[in-house]
Amino acid sequence: MPQPFPTRSLSDAELREGVVTVSHALRAEYAWDAGVAIGAYLDGLRAGRILGRSCRRCDRVLVPPRMFCEQCFRPTDGWVEVPSTGRVATFSVCYVTWDMQPLVLPELPAVIELGEGRAEAGVGPHPGILHRLGGVDPDDVSIGMRVRAVWKPAREREGSILDIRYWRPG
């Protein structure tokens, strides 16, 4: 292969000693409309319920809910309340923040598969959400483990995914 171009690598020292740089903080703030489906989902969370949308053609329940099924491209058929229990589909034990600073206590992000899978009527495969595990030692977590949501008390719930504090074994 031809020699690569001799791109100039900047050391930390060079950066400190005054290579010309310009800094800029992006001031991008947003106010999003949560949308029809997520708006109702958030209302459900405030009421202590997890809501999904059903797609009859695909025989599945969609959580997070959406007003259209992206697989068959039809409008979804109706609202379904999904139990706030499920299984750990996967999890991690995370020791760092988003900017790579160490955490004092590790976090346990997880994908929670809601309901009981095909066994339970009306709940199709893989309605799942990203959330956090808690009230459990990291060493005791396993894929497939049953969990249930630990909700904030009603007066503290705001209509947010954080209305569920975390998911614990049980």
Binding site: V20, H24, E29, A31, W32, D33, G39, M67
Partner: protein, 171 residues
Amino acid sequence: MLEKPSSPEAIRLWRGSIPVSHRYTAGVAGERFFRALADRGVFLATRCGACQVVYCPARAFCERCLAALEEELEVGPRGRLESFTIVRRGLDGRPLAAPVTVGLVRLDGADTVLVHRIGGDSGHLQIGITVEPVLRDASQRQGCLDDVEHFRPLVKPPPGRPRGDRAAPPA
């Protein structure tokens, strides 16, 4: 099909932001341009001999033929005002405390323009006039466009009424 919300309470706003900031290097050519501005108070350009184009601020390569540009020269300090506008509102849409005039300046010897603030009485600006840079004190220059306070017209304003509504009529 899709349901229209029946009441304003059903519409829900979710607020958030993008938490990122950046530090940009000036680049290989930018480094030379801004050092020259800070240290010597001059404007560096680079020239493509094949395309007969002079770029200011200095560039590392010619955009037309991709040649590496080694030939450096100083341009300006004076230049031609190619366009200008008076800005009255800020990024948030609210009126500025004082209007700001910005313009495009083609320094003598360069084929490209740069953007900067235009100082002096905006009422007497015209496209085509000569402008000159007002540089900050050498001790205050840091190697950035702000090392130039602004460009200002060289020509004295003509007597009589200024044009349009860009400034208050003379008393």
